[in-house]
Symmetry: C2
Subunit: 266 residues, 2 copies
């Protein structure tokens, strides 16, 4: 649609990427408000087709915003960026196991020079619209990371890749749940409407207070847990499918782009 970021927004985004490049590591919810954040998964070229196909077949959890081809490290969504350094915290995966977390992934790109990087949409994009509509975002208010859960929903496999859907959860006042559905539904390119509302157990979530990723939630009286497809889903696919090598962001530590959230509203 050609929505343009303000110079203040761009300065904030560049400063944040610069901080992360220098080694700072904080969750990015609420950082550079109004600009789109993205999940990262990078795999060796041999796995790139299946990763892109997995995303195409599972567009709600895995909406592809950009593919950075082998040999490239700059995102077109953030000119001047370096995908190896500009995320606060990375995860290095070997044979489906989390091998380490690092604040600089340059060594990983040196080790595998054929890495293809996928930037996947993030639910933080529609949080802007929710906040603008007066719907509270609890984890932002508390300065915490959003809670994320593995579910019993199988994604559609693609070649060697399979795994379950990961969801993020936001407690929403019961009277605003319908608004939250409609507002997030206007951004189908970044997870869109919720995949589930109100019943954690039917997603296979035994204990809402113990998320698989991120921080514990605080669900208050009169609030309903609302679940959105989450861009951490590729990490569940890594665990289930065990590719020899992969790099991802650490959940909640996103790549900040220069693209306004409004760009993804239909």
């Amino acid at each position: 649609m050609g929505v343009i970021a303000t110079s203040d927004q761009l300065a904030t985004a560049r400063a944040a990427r610069g901080d992360y490049r220098a080694g700072r590591a904080v969750p990015t919810s609420g950082v550079a408000a109004g600009l789109t954040q993205a999940n990262l998964i990078a795999v060796p070229a041999d796995w790139a087709f299946e990763t892109l196909l997995y995303a195409q077949r599972n567009p709600k959890p895995c909406p592809v915003l950009e593919v950075i081809e082998r040999g490239q490290v700059e995102s077109v969504l953030a000119p001047g960026s370096d995908i190896r350094t500009d995320i606060g915290r990375y995860r290095i995966w070997r044979d489906g196991e989390l091998a380490s977390e690092v604040t600089d992934a340059t060594d990983a790109w040196d080790e595998h020079r054929d890495l293809v990087a996928f930037l996947i949409g993030c639910s933080f994009t529609f949080e802007t619209g929710l906040v603008d509509a007066g719907i509270p975002i609890r984890h932002q208010e508390l300065g915490r990371n959003v809670p994320m859960y593995r579910t019993n929903i199988d994604c559609t496999p693609a070649g060697r890749l399979r795994g379950e859907m990961v969801v993020s959860m936001r407690p929403i006042p019961a009277g605003r749940v319908a608004d939250a559905v409609q507002i997030s539904g206007r951004t189908p390119a970044v997870h869109g409407a919720p995949v589930h509302i109100g019943d954690p157990s039917s997603l296979g979530i035994a204990d809402l207070s113990r998320p698989d990723f991120g921080d514990a939630p605080e669900v208050r009286e009169g609030e309903i847990p609302v679940f959105w497809a989450c861009g951490v889903t590729p990490q569940a696919a890594i665990m289930a499918s065990r590719p020899p090598f992969a790099v991802t962001h650490a959940p909640g530590y996103m790549f900040i782009t220069d693209v306004p959230d409004a760009e993804y509203i239909v």
Copy 2:
């Protein structure tokens, strides 16, 4: 969304695929009304990632409805179908040149056993909505193929693939153009809103009466030429990029699925 086709629709779709499988070859505009039709491009596995990436980077002309992996020939969008036979007319491409047109592509799949097939959304899907709104579809009325044109709009390249956007054109009464934009805009997964309205020359189209694909249009007094991104765009990429081998449908001779058009309305 889980919209279900009626048994009459499904019977019509299966009968049409059966006719094409038996060798019948007619343009499919208006056939099995209300069910989604798709463009085809199939390439050797070595070109599959770039083809999928080209589609991801150019979603208006190349919205991917399904990828049929190597070794598979049945579309999940049409159970019981065979992608090698169930299109009325195929094009076989060698080194970017149109080598032949056939009504059965089984030999092509035998020659290249690693073909990966992509089904791409078709503007016929939103024609249903236009007709329902009382907007005339001239090429349907005349029993002709929709006119399609190569343009001067470059698609975003992906690896070895590049090429210009192809558009389809429908003459729309001036008073209904805004309606046509809004109705087609509700199907972003199948080309969505027009890419251009009213000025062929700015698209590099010198003579509207001589389309590059399909049949000549008939634009009447008071009608505006409206241009939509077209799923023949991958064929322009084949011509420009010269992969060693490819199979496509012949323009206008689409693959008919069992999926209601309404499934793609947001």
